[in-house]
Subunit: 148 residues, 2 copies
């Protein structure tokens, strides 16, 4: 069972910004890509979407970059995952290759229970803030090469 | 967020066998593949593993096939998903392409919370039996072409 890489990287971007939050400085896509060793191209769309959804603020220009739009203790991990993950249908009842989807669909109660299981999963994440996701900002900052 | 196709098909095989359970007849891989419109090759490994794990009994030979090893009300959906799903690490902290995995790993509390979220997901499924996953055996049997 996996969240998409998109959600994974969304969480990483926010954890980076949480570690940098107290400094008041802006972060760039390049530095985040470098800190995690992941491709810049993966991050561009994520940053755009985080800004559009109000999680971060971006500033254009040469000395531009991004920061959290509100303190990390006011950002719910559950809200982030609900926003980033495009599909919580944990099984594919309707496979596009199969004309009418799963044959037993109308007699299946499992799908409702799976939906409840997903809600239980998300409720657990609703109980954690971005601030709590990072043990100590100082340790995170060292790990992410924000300070030495 | 998705379970693997392997887990999805494992659940479908068991739901088929639950629908057929009262008849006392054996089911074949061919008929299950046909009922769901999925490839036979996907099912062979699944059936082997379900037998190995004691969920089903198989009988070799020309009139061979399989049936549930115990009544559907004694088979927990949670137990099936725990058995079939190979990996509950919902994010890839350690990407094989990145030498040391996620840079913030040692300062990250999110992974423990994600593990708790997975447990909450599975606990919900522990509360459902295979019997409950199928609304009425009669309706399921019609949908799966077991009776007309």
């Amino acid at each position: 069972m996996r969240l998409t890489l998109y959600t994974d990287y969304t969480l990483r971007v926010l954890m980076y910004l949480a570690a940098k939050h107290r400094s008041g400085e802006l972060a760039t896509i390049d530095e985040i890509a470098q800190a995690y060793g992941i491709s810049r191209s993966h991050l561009t769309k994520i940053v755009h979407e985080l800004a559009r959804q109000g999680f971060i603020e971006t500033q254009r220009g040469r000395s531009g970059g991004m920061r959290l739009a509100r303190p990390p203790e006011q950002i719910s991990i559950g809200a982030v995952v609900r926003m980033a993950e495009e599909d919580f249908a944990v099984v594919a009842c309707h496979d596009p290759k199969v004309p009418h989807g799963c044959a037993v669909f109308p007699a299946c109660r499992l799908k409702q229970r799976l939906a409840r299981a997903v809600e239980a999963f998300l409720a657990e994440l609703d109980g954690m803030t971005l601030d709590e996701a990072v043990t100590t900002p100082r340790q995170a900052a060292v790990l992410l090469n924000l300070v030495t």
